[in-house]
Symmetry: none
Subunit: 233 residues, 2 copies
């Protein structure tokens, strides 16, 4: 077999880009010959050839024997194009706003929102694309904290970073959690492991050594870290 192209060739992309911009500008799709001109393809049959490929790949829909019968479904970036959003799509908001409830400092207990924190100050929220979050489950249980000071560097978390937390009271092995160590009055971010009745708190930095805690009662799990975000100038 000859060349096996998986994705979109430059011509596919150029045609898709033209379909989008033309439709944008004119309000109706281009004819095959207009695509010829723009893409500098001399033959209508070649454009027809590519259009059929794009249709097979689901980027466009074609109608037989219809002038300009091209329906642009998604562009080269895979973004669906639609004039009107359906009600179902509106429910899947692409961005969720997570309340930024305070700072997390090593030396003092971290703020935890009440179990029912449906309302919060809207201007102190963090916008997160839904695609960044693990699941579409229970976004209600999420809150964010700003890291204050350099005390979390062993968790690979910097001053000013934002950690998105999920309210949990129990952690599973391997999850990164925020814990309050009552014996040393300290908040810390560590990977959690429960082994033989002991708790091992493992720093994210592989160069650092873990903390082994004999008495699990000392550890108060405040939440599970879902996302860490660092914004730079």
């Amino acid at each position: 077999m000859a060349r096996r192209k998986n994705g979109l060739s430059p011509r596919h992309k150029k045609i898709l880009a033209f379909l989008e911009s033309y439709q944008q500008e004119k309000g109706y799709p281009p004819s095959i010959r207009e695509i010829c001109d723009y893409t500098e393809i001399s033959s209508t049959s070649v454009v027809n050839y590519y259009l059929n490929q794009l249709a097979e790949m689901g980027y466009i829909e074609r109608s037989s024997n219809v002038s300009r019968g091209i329906n642009l479904i998604k562009n080269a970036k895979g973004i669906r194009l639609q004039t009107v959003k359906s009600a179902a799509e509106r429910l899947l908001e692409p961005v969720i706003n997570i309340p930024l409830v305070g700072n997390i400092v090593a030396g003092e207990p971290m703020p935890v929102p009440p179990s029912d924190f449906s309302y919060y100050d809207p201007d102190s929220g963090v916008e997160i694309a839904r695609g960044l979050l693990p699941e579409n489950d229970s976004t209600e249980q999420l809150y964010a904290l700003r890291v204050f000071g350099d005390s979390m560097i062993d968790a690979m978390v910097n001053d000013g970073d934002i950690v998105v937390m999920k309210k949990v009271d129990q952690a599973r092995n391997g999850e990164m959690v925020a814990v309050w160590l009552s014996d040393r009055d300290e908040t810390t971010l560590k990977y959690f492991y429960l082994e033989n009745g002991k708790i091992r708190l493992q720093p994210a930095n592989p160069l650092m050594k873990p903390i082994i805690i004999e008495d699990p009662n000392i550890v108060e799990i405040q939440g599970k870290v879902v996302l860490v975000i660092r914004q730079l100038a």
Copy 2:
């Protein structure tokens, strides 16, 4: 003079409604004869007649001698319609999709997209809420890399983290940049400072010492780090 109609006749409205629903369903405008069928007008000339009126009233735009050359500007309620989002509207998009172009590894040059990379494979993108990005400027210049290996821990960046980069060839003091050090064949993320003709590359971890580079030619700036994201299970 005969009837003095200010507003839209039922036929005008019916045609406009058809234009909207047809465009919505098919993705391209109807032909005059298709409008005939729907509106139960037996003559193409009559539809043509009404279309010209609608064009004069600013509801549509027509292109001469172009099949289906109808651009629906506003519907009967005067609401502006747009099939494809304009560039201005795209700026208001709550989520932007940033291409994930590859891995960044200390030991080898990092991938940098070409200067014109407006299109890329859609299946490997990172969704970022616009609110997380510094400005609304030039989202075209952004790309993302996945960190591979533990070699960036001095930049407080972990294995698996995603760094969002902006294409720049010059850095300003205090910015975190990805640089290729040609003398030691290494890619690294550091804060950039140009001082007295020397370049100081400062690790994000305050415990680490900076690298001072006497010859600025050794440093190839690959991009500026805009955002670091760490997703946890």
